[in-house]
Symmetry: C4
Subunit: 278 residues, 4 copies
């Protein structure tokens, strides 16, 4: 026999984990505001001049956010249908990481790494994507990227091999005086050039160096087409399959009818909710 869930717990669960009720929407709005404020404080606190002036104020705010996030975390643990599963889910761990650094500062002193952990709070922003009208597109983009990942990995390996070979060639032709002091430096330069970032801190000076640089630039200009082609086509495929699955005609077993079709375009059978298996 299933344990009966008390009414207050059900209500709490609705607020913290659902998104359709008005109470849940207010909760999400407040949470979004708290997350963005918290991150902003972490960022501003890292600016030396502001840190000197508002050190204590930032510290107090930080504790206020931490207490609020702790309350939220406890409420989630209590109201979760499966507390254990929630605690070790991705967002559950992020929730935990979001509050623990501030408490750790009471015990040990390691500001920089803790600071980074607090920035991870930003990941909690993905909760707002639970909002229904976003969800469909988020899933769509995630699915596309997931399907592209193997082809993009192959492209990345290929690009890395190219960058290492071209960087090594550059090490051979360009003088160390111009900043090309070692193969790793040259490979880094080749990456900066191939991705068309082009900082300009290290640039070729000799004619041969400029010739190699030209090859790297043209290569980057053209091979960027590969990940773009992969993502564009996977997205097109996902869109097509989302638009296409409208049902099979019971009479002729053919698929590929438009969503607004009243009759089968192949055998003329009239459609109704029963003959079209969706």
């Amino acid at each position: 026999m299933r344990k009966k869930i008390p009414k207050w717990k059900k209500y709490l669960n609705e607020i913290t984990f659902e998104y359709s009720t008005p109470a849940a929407k207010i909760f999400d709005g407040v949470l979004l505001f708290l997350i963005i404020s918290s991150i902003t404080i972490v960022m501003l606190d890292s600016v030396p001049s502001l840190h000197l002036k508002h050190k204590i104020f930032f510290h107090k705010l930080e504790w206020a956010f931490t207490v609020l996030f702790t309350i939220e975390y406890v409420l989630r643990i209590i109201s979760a249908k499966q507390p254990g599963k929630f605690a070790f889910s991705f967002l559950g761990i992020v929730d935990f990481i979001a509050i623990i650094p501030t408490y750790l500062t009471l015990l040990i002193y390691t500001p920089d790494i803790l600071l980074i952990l607090r920035v991870l709070r930003l990941l909690r922003i993905f909760r707002i994507f639970r909002l229904s009208h976003f969800l469909k597109d988020v899933n769509f983009l995630a699915a596309t990227l997931y399907k592209s990942i193997q082809k993009i990995t192959i492209f990345m390996i290929f690009a890395m091999v190219l960058v290492i070979l071209l960087g090594s060639l550059m090490y051979l032709v360009e003088k160390p005086e111009n900043g090309f002091t070692s193969i790793p430096e040259c490979v880094y330069w080749a990456l900066v050039t191939l991705t068309t970032v082009g900082y300009g801190d290290v640039v070729p000076v000799t004619i041969l160096g400029k010739a190699v640089a030209s090859i790297v630039m043209l290569t980057g200009f053209v091979i960027i087409a590969v990940p773009l082609g992969i993502v564009t086509n996977e997205m097109a495929k996902a869109m097509r399959s989302r638009d296409a699955h409208t049902g099979i005609c019971k009479a002729c077993k053919m698929d590929g009818h438009d969503a607004d079709a009243n009759y089968c375009k192949f055998c003329g059978e009239k459609f109704n909710a029963i003959n079209k298996k969706v």
Copy 2:
């Protein structure tokens, strides 16, 4: 009973709001020339050396443009079918903003912000897009971007989270002496690198910093594929639906059948070369 519109008002309306008559075309041409000239003067007036030399000449021209635009605005208000609706439409407000800054200089002295407002005159250039042979493509591009906006917003939020996390990581690994003085600075650097702009005013110096920079660059090189994929596919969809009008069923007068359909998908009429007007 509808109020009768006088003939001169009808003619004025035709010139200022239509685009097919010869008079309207001349009016549009003159307007285009005035807008571009006016913006050019605003831009040249901001160049210190030219401002010193031609200050009074620019000032006179500015007033000439303002008077002409004021006359145009008054004519539009008079001849508009619904003057109130026009005045508060987007282009109506732009028209108003285009003339008001110059008059305000007579009352108060705030040159810089007023100057920006005068540049907004440029938005009036979109009037020329009323020209019929442009209209179709403008609407097409606008519709595509409008349909892409939600997916691109999601992508932007994701990219911003990525930029903040990678920027924070950079703050952790790279020394402040090399320009990475605070998290906001590092986030700005990460954005400059991810978008492949790469100014080069702040560049990583340590090995770890260069490693993080490499991650940011490769990420930027790959994720740019996402907005491209979105826009390309939405455009493809819009093009397909525009091209899909292949024929109208003689029986039910419905449009939108596939080129290879044997039966009308709406009324079940069997197609042949005669019932489908291509």
Copy 3:
């Protein structure tokens, strides 16, 4: 009665204007070599150190190329079916421009502009595209770009308006001391940033300036999708129409059969050269 063309003229025409005969292929190869050599000499002659050392040698070579190109031009004029039409065609004018600057140096002394005109010789390289196996793809790419031109023009106007508005905003928020001295300078900076070139000669220093720069960068990162979407889709359309027109079945009047189909996929009619109107 048509005038009879002498045999030697026919043969000359074949060599200079055709591309399928062995003699014409050799002629094209030699010409390609001469064009590239000539451009290389023009480029090397502009390098101050090389100019000092090899001035006379370059001068002699230049005259040699000019004499050879003159002979070629005269042969083309003689052998052309319609000499007048050829002389005023695009490639005819390019041929003329390719030789005239060197002769002009005997009369007047204006080295720099003449030098540029000599570089235009490079346009003659497009003659090699007459080579049959290139022609199809050149026409394909040209047709695609031609069809995209109106949409891209609209995009360009929109981008220019955006660049001017964002540049003006930058002029308002960033100090002249940091290089943002006038609106034209700021607009140039906005263009450098939007196109993700990012020279880094002028960069924002204040927080507000960096905020505006971030907007410009993100805008550039996203709007580049528009021309890509346009070209990709126009190319897709051109490819589809090239692949699709295979013929209409005489029995059922349906189109859209694959090139390798033996039977109509709609009515089962057997295809032959006669029932499929290509």
Copy 4:
């Protein structure tokens, strides 16, 4: 009569050239580790500070790798079904180049070029692509690029002509004092700008120079669409043809029918759910 292959040779061949057996997988894993380690050592050895400290250690490791790769090469030659064919295949030559430089150092002293040859070991990483679940996508990407190569070549020639012409124009309008000292320098600058790399080591200073730079930037921003469109569409075509295998006709055993065909396009057999094995 075929010579009988001894069992040990068969087993060795399986390990070195196949990828499905557990032994072959371990062999591939070890090899991958050795290649990456070897390249890492070559790269680290080029860093002056590390070279000074760990010179002897690196030298010993280098010899260890070389001996291991030599053993592997000998095993491959012995176990290959056609040793001669393998030795002169692409990967066979790469294998040979991977070991020879170290032995050459015993005879002659030419460190830099030899060093580059050792980096070519990286090409051996493509062996891991033999791994079956990668193979399909590698072939897919390779086939796409191969099909795009002619169109991209034409685009490249066109882009090079554009870069030379725009670079020459820049040489005419911008002063040598600002770094635009010769046509080759200007052409290099135009390439840096067109590909949106934008180092910023040489930037236009005069108004005319900035105007030309703007043209180059906008050109680069738009023409990058061409290779992207080519690759995206070739990829789409390859994907479609891979997905098009929808069923085999029971009568003539032919494949490649459209999903909505009623009759086999090769033999005219009427389709039904039974004759088309999906």
